[in-house]
Assembly symmetry: D3
Homo-oligomer: 283 residues x 6
């Protein structure tokens, strides 16, 4: 009766041992230049997750049959992005060591770099599938090489040409759009070409990074840099379920900023995507 107060996503009480997936939060927004606040995403999502059903009518499966472990939020310092990335890398490595799938909830998009470092070390032929409104391919941003706006460029430093597949991109500076061809496979505005890409990837290990601002701001206003002209929820859901059928070895979703989500609808969208990913990635 007198257990300490435990709070887990969707109120589900799985133990570490039985879990296939480990969810953890990376509450960092220290390089966010415009409007901070993604640091609050994980805690807000966990608290609101009690309001969502566990059953998915889309997949006709129940989350209570899909054991995952909620490791809570990492304790990250502000003021030092490189230390933050190291802490994320360590956490991801520990999850991989336990032969489980890491699913990180950001935070700003830079956090992806920490996870990709750990995953890439284990899977040197790693491909990255990237859903986003923004290309995030800058060489540097405001003088910093470790920035949310350059995170995929830093990932490219690791994985090299032809390994990054972007979808939904509709914003960036001119240099990013000029640099992309030959280095990354950028699909603008929509998910056109996704199924062909996934088929071509075959058994290649995939890191899947989902910046939720790929959604149209009508569906997902609660983010730091809303960018009109995005995809609908059903388009995203279809695309996410497709990716999860490939050989996903690490993944994240990021860029929910609860301050800009007065209605709570963006948080609810993020949670629904998380639920569908957890179910789809459980075998």
């Amino acid at each position: 009766m007198w257990n300490k107060n435990i709070e887990t996503y969707f109120g589900l009480p799985f133990d570490f041992a039985e879990a296939q997936i480990v969810v953890f939060g990376a509450p960092f927004d220290g390089t966010t230049s415009f409007r901070p606040g993604t640091r609050f995403a994980g805690a807000t999502m966990r608290k609101e997750s009690y309001g969502l059903e566990n059953y998915s009518p889309y997949q006709d499966r129940d989350l209570s049959d899909c054991p995952f472990f909620d490791a809570g939020e990492l304790d990250l310092p502000f003021g030092s992005p490189s230390r933050v990335l190291s802490l994320i890398e360590e956490q991801t490595e520990a999850i991989l060591d336990a032969r489980k799938l890491p699913l990180m909830v950001g935070g700003e998009h830079l956090v992806t770099l920490g996870a990709v470092r750990a995953v890439h070390r284990r899977y040197p032929d790693l491909a990255i599938v990237h859903f986003d409104a923004h290309a995030d391919l800058r060489e540097e941003y405001l003088g910093e090489r470790l920035s949310h706006a350059s995170v995929l460029r830093r990932c490219h430093d690791l994985v090299g040409d032809g390994k990054i597949h972007q979808f939904g991109i509709r914003s960036g500076d001119r240099e990013e759009f000029l640099w992309a061809p030959g280095h990354v496979s950028m699909h603008r505005f929509s998910f056109d070409g996704l199924f062909e890409t996934l088929a071509a990837l075959g058994d290649t290990p995939v890191y899947f990074t989902l910046d939720l601002d790929v959604l149209d701001p009508s569906v997902f206003p609660g983010t730091g840099t809303p960018e009109a002209g995005g995809v609908t929820f059903m388009e995203l859901l279809t695309a996410v379920l497709a990716v999860c059928k490939n050989h996903v070895v690490g993944c994240d979703l990021n860029e929910l900023s609860p301050h800009y989500d007065q209605s709570g609808a963006s948080t609810a969208v993020a949670l629904k995507v998380l639920r569908e990913m957890l179910i789809a990635l459980s075998r």
Copy 2:
């Protein structure tokens, strides 16, 4: 000059005698488990209704030609759902006794049960057309049988198998989805099948209950449990106008929660639906 301060929907001054329809509010959200606030829907809608035009370009008719009476908000106690339902039942019965059509504005969805009880007594072969994101078919919820999450199940207790026709459903627990076949006619995700259903209903008396969260949260964020993947406004409008051509003998719309509607756009949507229903249901 010195009349008391009268406030009616759309500022329209119809008398009871001339009205075909009676609108009343049921400001109750006492079983709302997640985020309360629908109790404020009716008063907020009435206040904001002065900002909406009376003319409908969709039906090319003007609300000022469609006499309805605004009976204001019921005075409902909190803490006793069964007393609340009795008061709604009485009000509905009085409207039916006056040979007028009751149109209730919730409040949480549980209020529908009170109105259905009165309407069903008068129309024993009553069918129910139900638009919603949620199935609301639980046998009980948190130990209570009278709950927003079980309201259609309670209606089923009254009307029996094959009488309830659900559209747009995309959320519920597994048991609800398993129970539905054989008991209710559940159409998931969209209005597919609506026209066939309406044609088959023919002259059967219909109670029409519209949970506005059937809309996508991009269109209608101002609700307690936003559920992504819903219908568009034009899809809803088309469906509502179709239902109103059948033999509707009672109806409601519910689940607007003004606290989560910072922009007022959800309230405006609810009012536009109300206007179109009032026009469509006037003969």
Copy 3:
């Protein structure tokens, strides 16, 4: 490393065995007639408590030296106040059985009745010290005897005349103010008379119920029924510390409504009061 995600007030990890005080949440606002939302108080306070220092310069003591146990939020049904009160009574009784001090965080003020029932059974000569803007002495409210507006009247049913000492009262209907003399000791507007009352109580066991709206709304706007003309924070702090020197055998604080606390300042006030109470009540 792979412990489940534990969240406790102020992030303090005390075990049940070592604790002198047990804090628990009663997230209920089902009889709130005006503006609901106190159900969110406990979860919001716990989440925000990480931003407050553990050290009190007022008492020159640190909360980390004052072992308390955080039992989380009770799981309360909506729609049935009497069941809610029974669950609170059970929880309070279990804490008393373990020879610890119950400190409940509401929720609306009605929750106090559940705790007082349990405490009064153990301490039949119980006195109640009550800080509030509202008298809460109605015989019934909107036809209900179990209501936030009648909670102290229900407590009076238990403890009898001369046992309830109210301070800061500045709102109520005429009947409450007429009834009070001879039944309760009502001190209007301020804490005048508190020190004399506490001295007179001597070793009498005291239940201390603190409705935070006794504070002026400038200090504590985040509540359902803000009532101008209240006390300052320093007046309240002085009064709270004085009460805590008496023989307190149960206590609560209630009526924070986070929805109306856009700045977070009301939540911070509630947490600071909680910290000071926890320190002052630790021996």
Copy 4:
């Protein structure tokens, strides 16, 4: 049973004939240069007034014994301040013709001019008692002579030197402060001198205009131009009750702007002042 939906302040159903006071709203903010929104004050106050008690522990009287009539909100055009003032003047005159006391709820402060015109015609020796943070004595503002910032100057055009008594003033341009001596009696920062002023006024008919931003913004943040360093609620209440003992022949309160009152505490303050004024002005 089928009366139209009537909404009156505090839900009190007095008839015009029995009323001593007539309350009406002047929802105009058309010259507000900084942050508009006071047009919403009256409707918001009326709606929220159901949450306030009718009994005043300060005066030990109940509003239900103080018959007043709520004439609702005037229907005012935007874009033409002079037409707005004429409509207010007419309404005030009609109330005076019926031998009742006009109590207007603004709106921006300019609305006072319309009421003062009517009252001054009937009481040529009218004095004005003015509580405000701002002097409102500009000859013109942004090229307009009819402006919230020049309303007391326009009143001075009517009543002449030595008739206007200002209290709490702590903002204005240099010219206003230079002009005041010899023309109006300006008391800066506080109510110092109020009792002497009221005594000296004796039986002189008084128009009492209360700009609620005389309160400190901690107490009353919900206004277009918050000005730190104001009075407390108890200081204001004491001053208001004192003025109401004089020969008040017309009055208003104004400048609540609900958009800037997220917590509702400012609206509650305005209502409490209104209740106390209604009781104090009832004989």
Copy 5:
């Protein structure tokens, strides 16, 4: 180093001489009957414009190659719509005199009339392309002929029959819809017929006025009168780019109301439309 603090749209430092387009703000909402606030649109957009990229992937051009001059916000009085329109007319005329293209950012829609007056004087055969949810064709509104609700009717007074082409209209009173045929070319609900209209216009000089509430409120909730059933962002973008290929000699966008845009997504949409217009109108 010690230049004064300059703030321009998108932070771009073009000089007047090199500019082809001059952007200026018309921060007026003085006839807004329902919910004011569009006066804040220009200042808010300018401040937030630093968060948007200069590069358009839709047109594959960069705003930094499209010299425009930001003339800031006009200093407009409140309380006198006719003076406001004169000031806008003067500003527009000065821009035309300098042989540059005026692009005005409202404000409420009435501001369009000032600009159209100046443009029409120079181009007597002017046609107007009008995107809006509302017809704005009233002869008068609340007794005023100069109103946001009658602005296109006033434009019609200038340009005459057959010159105004409306798209997306879905709201108005019955009289507007009855009056339109024979006077203006009204396309309801969508952009159907736009390409034919633009082709037929050929080299005719066009004033393009874009009321952003033509967008569906899901995309653009931040406006005073949200009207469900509007166009998507991509539909609008396509239509805007099409219009900009015609002979546009003056233009505006209006009716953003930042108060109702808690997430900032509406402001971001307005800025994206502005960016695309600036690029498309640069030759």
Copy 6:
């Protein structure tokens, strides 16, 4: 007529040459651990400053007679506190080189360190007067030595024992309160002792750093870490004017967080303090 859009505090157009004081913004909140947002303070204050009068009735002087130069907001990178501090140090040094007084508007409190470094180099016997709710004396915070929570400790590293005079302190961890005696002069809770301190300082050059959260949250809710029990506005104003009579050679005010200031009252308070400082520091 065609000057670029200039925005300066209070709309005052002073040139650099004539200015005695240079105001600049330091929009950085990169080490804020709890609730970020102070980066928006300067831009928000500048925009809202148009709503405040230039005349001070407290000092009977007008800001238009007190030439200051507004250098706008520094362009600061996120993710590197040490680079941020260097940029602030350079700016401060340039102002001192021009023989003007630097007045910085934060941002989080860490920015003070950059300014103090520059000022201390020029005035080696510098004393610091510090108003704050928080001691900010930690040796490090979350592993970082450059943090808002350790900024006065870093200043102590520069100026040494006995040079820092703190007032209003009511929060910190135990170690800070234990360390303070012998190193800094800490005055808890209030301004008691301020006049003696200022007298004792005599002609000593003073850096004055004002964390606005020294105010009670009722007066100043718009800050990241509201701490109940603070000073009133009039107490602060009196204290600020007293300090400004000493030999102030550099100063700042900081920690306004506009996101938590829904009413705008906190921004208005910050601006009023800024106005009074600018006037008081002008000779």
